[in-house]
Symmetry: C2
Subunit: 463 residues, 2 copies
Amino acid sequence: MSPGNPELVNALVQVLGSENVLTALEDILPYGFDGTATFKQRPVAVVFAHDAAQVSAVIKLARTHRAPVVTRGSGTGLSGGSVPVPGAVVLCLVKMDRILEVDPANLTLRAEAGAITQKIFDAADATGLFYPPDPGSMKISTIGGNVAENSGGLRGLKYGVTRDYVMGLEVVLADGSICWLGSKCVKDVAGYNLRDLFIGSEGTLGVVTQVLLKLLPKPAARQTLLATYARMDSAAETVSAIIAAKIIPCTLEFLDRKTIQCVEDFAKVGLPRDAEAILLIETDGHPAAVADEAAKIEELCRAHGATSVRRAATAAEAAQLATARRSAFSALARLRPTTILEDVTVPRSELAGMIREVEAIATRHQLNIATFGHFGDGNLHPTILTDERDTAEMHRVELAFADIVQATLARGGTITGEHGVGLAKKPFLKSQLGDASYELLRLVKRSLDPDGLLNPGKIFDQS
Amino acid sequence: MSPGNPELVNALVQVLGSENVLTALEDILPYGFDGTATFKQRPVAVVFAHDAAQVSAVIKLARTHRAPVVTRGSGTGLSGGSVPVPGAVVLCLVKMDRILEVDPANLTLRAEAGAITQKIFDAADATGLFYPPDPGSMKISTIGGNVAENSGGLRGLKYGVTRDYVMGLEVVLADGSICWLGSKCVKDVAGYNLRDLFIGSEGTLGVVTQVLLKLLPKPAARQTLLATYARMDSAAETVSAIIAAKIIPCTLEFLDRKTIQCVEDFAKVGLPRDAEAILLIETDGHPAAVADEAAKIEELCRAHGATSVRRAATAAEAAQLATARRSAFSALARLRPTTILEDVTVPRSELAGMIREVEAIATRHQLNIATFGHFGDGNLHPTILTDERDTAEMHRVELAFADIVQATLARGGTITGEHGVGLAKKPFLKSQLGDASYELLRLVKRSLDPDGLLNPGKIFDQS
């Protein structure tokens, strides 16, 4: 179709009303990118749906007019998953933002896909329940986006990721049909698990319109610790020692020296600027278990060379310590015009070596790379601070990116732990999966979206 | 192909050796059924593979000769999933039974598909780790069978099911290609999650040959309680009260009056024969948490009408109490020639009403139905004690079966919580899923197994 396709736009206006169809340049420009640096593409139109029936109508119209559909929520993604493709209609679900039900007897919460993650957490919290996944962007991200990317967060080690809390999904398929996958039953083996196929499929197989989530009882107690290290290896040894002691903290995060310095400049939390590594550790659960675990963790930190260990005395102090980690990305993003956030993940035992390798890669390509991430999950966020206008440096960025990916795969890791493949990691997927798995993915895409109109060109190229 | 197809058998012998290809009637008869009553079918041959390459060779040969392949482990399934189809080669994986690696640093265990579940539990246990899924047949079931059926167990409420512990799979696809899905990374969003598609797919999409499992630290303490009730409703109210108190026990099982009487006859555990319900409750974790929770649970049991509450003083006594529940199926199976085990599951809040409805259905159809199951999961095992030679009674069994399924679906439940669809639940799947989801399942099957040779006719009919 030609850009600006007026027939399609008219048909969309008929279904959704003109107030829900944007085509003016100034209106659609903000929907031309997401949280990922360097990817931009103007859509043909941006439309807002209010329920699954409208989503279905949009999908059918787009099919009739052969227009790609790129679904998005708040656009906080970090792999380009919701960046439009040429000729695309952006289907924005932020107006489907209701929390439909909290069911304390069955420990479930049902919400529309556009509901904000933080609101879901708050609604659970208000009934004494707990929705654990806490992606960095949870204050503005939508649950539909979290499901599409299978978002992680800071509590992954103990509580897992978004997938672990999805019991059911309402999905609009490529032919416009609407189906429910999953149920309120905590055990359900009736047929293939297609729910989990849609989780993390980045809008390429269908449009998630409703989500049924599992909740947990709220942990009764929590303790936050911040340990400072003169050597990254000591921090890594501490993490191994904690796991070996059969303790699974809910949070086990780290910052490297560059990130520490940036965060301190930005947030003034009182971090030691000369430390090589900081671990943020949180344990939660029964008060006695938390007290025991926190004491043991502190002991292990000191035994493995921590130069200081701070235990938060109050919730406010805990929040302040957590700020050090939560503000890492924002703090780093202030330093240079372009911030490229990596998301490689290795088996936990490989993490210390991987961090050293990232440092060597930074030196080799003369780049400024700060690294932070989820130590307990082996999930690293090497952050390249650069300037996309500097062609020579961007070329070195590409080389470094490829080197980091290669080092990750050599250690049995994955090119993406929680941000998704999208556009950013597409070139590397085949090397990770191998031919047979890669072709299987493409086969699934062809089968479920034979016309290739649902977020095409993401994850892999279809042709 | 004709039964006994000698060309195919010769080709199989060439690849596997004659000691791994059974065709004599007395050898193959034991592979003509599984743990499910009433389903039997003699295969053409039974073959044993020793690695993925041999599995791949078998798949390719079967494809050349257009023979269906039915994969099985120990054949303990309860929905007919591993019962041969006409003309089938049974591919038995019990000789692929090695535990390949226990990795304490990454909390993983890798095993071949034919490894016995109990051995996996023991290997984890030996290093202080814990593999939670404990299907009833775990002493003889294989991990490959557990994955194929996504088996549950007695710890589902707190720990989930097999799926929740599978990090990676080696799978041989319908074209014979071998692929790995998943990794040792605790977070991995590189491409579609096809691992979870194969889990619970009952051998209809590929053959799982290796499994990478997630382990947990072993809980430090455990407390087992047995509460007796004069009324089933009181037991149900207790369960709701426990959940409302934000306690998630690892085990929350129940027996009804008929099951209690049978178990007492069989195992002599000292159960009160006049009780209408018994709850077996187990909590585990930090010793202080366990002590608090056990005290609170006992208080809630008594407050909601328990006539007695027994707390196990020792591990031996705990094991004895658990015997009451673990022996339920064996005890019931002694009463009549044919034991038909149902597996319906409803949202937890619907369970008490569902149990009453099953009792009404038994009365209406003049059948002997004893019920036990996983109260915390809403997973019921109404067990019809009958005789397959009695045509008139078997007709009433069919009617009762259909009534139970209908009642389940009316309560938002599922036709199978942990046993799978196989042959037994095939007629009911479409009513549960609805047309759109059902057709999506069939589409996935057609795409991944275009010749329809992998365990055909299970879950649904393909034509």
